[in-house]
Symmetry: C2
Subunit: 266 residues, 2 copies
C-alpha cells in the first residue's frame, strides 16, 4: 500500500519536514534518515522505518523492494512523492530517492554493555552535528561499541549528524549522560578513560592502553574541563608540529582511536 | 584612522558580505577570515589584512592593537561597526569581535617547493569546505608543507573552509591543479604518492613510507578514480571493523598522515 502525496502543503509533508528541528523530534520521538544504503544498514541492524518516503523518480532496486516489504510487514506507512517534496523534507537540494522515519533509540547509560567492545568513544559538549556523526562513523570503523555523549552535545538524531554518520547511527550504541553520572558508572566496572590532552600527557604512540578503553575528546572550542582531564587514567598527546595547538575534535578522536586499536591488537 | 559604519545598507557592508560567495571572491581576489587568534596567525605568517573590521563591542587586546597598527602601516583600512553588522558580514550569529579581508594567494603548483616538507596532503574532488579546512588544520599539525587540491574541489577561501582551518589556511601552502598537470609535476622530482584505498592495498600500519610523502584522499562519495589509485606508488588500507567501508575523507587523511609522520620519524 503506497500513499501518494503531491502537494507541498500536505500536513504529512509538514510533519516530516518538522523532524529537522530538535523540538519536533523530541515531541514525536522520531528522526529522519536518507538514502538506500543507510536505510538498508538500518534494516540489517533491526531498525525498520515507521514511514518510508520514496521519490517518484527513484531507480528501482531490490534493496528498496526489501525495505518496502519490511515496512509493510511491520505495519508502517509507505509514501510516494515528488523529488521536490522529498527535497523539501530532507533539506537537501539533490535528495536521495528514499528517506525513512525511525523511532529514536533509548540513549540511557543503562543500555550500555561495556564488555561488548574493546573501544568506546566519549565526547564532551560536542556542538557540531557533523563532528558527532563523523565520530559515530569512526567508531563503526574501529570496532567501537558506541559513542557516549557527555553534557550538552549536539543531537545525534539531527539530519546532519545522521547524514555524517553514514549509517553508523544504527550500528553504534549512543548514550547521553552528565559527567557526574558517567564517572560513577565508569568506575563501577573495568574501563580506562583516556583523554587527548596537552597537560601532563604522554605521547599517544605506544601509550599503555587497556581494554575497554574509553577515548574522550572535549568541546570544539574549549577542549575538556580541567577536572575531567584530571579524572582520566591516561592523558596522551599527539605531535603538533605547526602553529595550531589542537586538532579538529573528530580528527583527534579518530587518530587516537586507531592508535588504541593498533595497540590492543598488537 | 578608523571608519565608522552604522548602516546595514552601507555599500561596504554589501561588498564585504559578498565575499561569502565564490564569484565575488574570484572577482575581487579577496577572502574573509574571522577571529583575533586567526588574524594574529595570519600576521605572523606575513599576511596583513587589506581591511580590518572591528566590532564596537570588541574586548581590547594588545594583539588587536598590533593588528590595527600593521594594517595602518600597510595602507589598509580599519572599519568599526556594530556586532549585528559584523554578524551580517560573516554570516555567524555570534560573530567574533574582529574580521579581516585578505588578498587570495597564488595557488599555482609553481609556488610549491616539495623539498620544504616531509609530508604533503592531496585531495581529489573534495566537495565539503569543512573537510577541506580540517585537512589544512591537520596538515599544520603533522608538519605538512601544504594541501594540493586536484580537480574540482571546494574553494579553500570560502568562509567555511577558512573557519575550519583554524588559521592553517595561512600556514599551509595551497595549490590547485588538474590531475593531468599534477602527475607530471610529481614525477618530475622525488615524491611518493600514497592513497588510502581498498584495492590492492597493504596495511597502513608499517607500510614503507618515503619522504616527501604525498597523502592522497578522494571525493567524499565516490572515493578516488581507479586510474588515480593505479598511478599511486603505494596503496594502503585502514582496518574497517564495522559495516562501513570508508572513513570521512578528512579523518582518513589525518589517520594516514599521522602514521606517515610516525614512520618517517622512527
Amino acid at each position: 500500500m503506497r500513499r501518494q502525496i503531491t502537494g507541498f502543503s500536505n500536513p504529512t509533508v509538514k510533519d516530516l519536514r518538522a523532524l529537522r528541528e530538535k523540538k519536533h523530534r523530541k515531541a514525536s520521538g522520531q528522526f529522519l534518515a536518507e538514502g538506500l544504503r543507510l536505510l538498508t544498514d538500518a534494516l540489517a541492524c533491526g531498525h525498520v522505518p515507521q514511514v518510508l518516503v520514496m521519490s517518484t523518480q527513484r531507480e528501482s532496486h531490490p534493496l528498496l523492494n526489501a525495505l518496502e516489504t519490511a515496512v509493510n510487514a511491520a505495519g508502517g506507512e509507505v509514501i510516494e512523492t515528488s523529488p521536490d517534496i522529498l527535497s523539501k523534507i530532507t533539506g537537501k537540494d539533490n535528495p536521495q530517492g528514499v528517506a525513512g522515519v525511525f523511532a529514536e533509540f533509548d540513549t540511557s547509560m543503562a543500555g550500555l554493555d561495556r564488555s561488548s567492545a574493546p573501544i568506546w568513544l566519549v565526547a564532551q559538549a560536542l556542538r557540531d552535528p557533523g563532528n558527532l556523526g563523523t565520530m559515530l562513523r569512526t567508531g563503526d570503523a574501529v570496532g567501537a561499541g558506541g559513542l557516549i555523549l557527555l553534557d550538552d552535545c549536539a543531537d545525534p538524531f539531527s539530519v546532519e549528524a545522521v547524514r555524517a554518520s553514514m549509517g553508523a547511527v544504527f550500528t553504534q550504541k549512543i548514550a547521553q549522560a552528565r559527567w557526574e553520572d558517567f564517572l560513577p558508572w565508569l568506575r563501577g566496572g573495568a574501563g580506562q578513560l583516556v583523554a587527548a590532552s596537552l597537560r601532563d600527557a604522554v605521547p599517544y604512540r605506544g601509550a599503555p592502553y587497556q581494554t575497554p578503553c574509553f577515548v574522550l575528546v572535549g568541546n570544539e572550542s574549549r577542549g575538556l574541563p580541567l577536572e575531567y582531564e584530571a579524572a582520566c587514567d591516561l592523558r596522551v598527546t599527539m605531535p603538533m608540529k605547526g602553529r595550531a595547538d589542537s586538532l579538529n575534535a573528530a580528527v583527534a578522536a579518530a587518530v587516537l582511536a586507531y592508535e588504541v586499536l593498533a595497540s590492543l591488537e598488537a
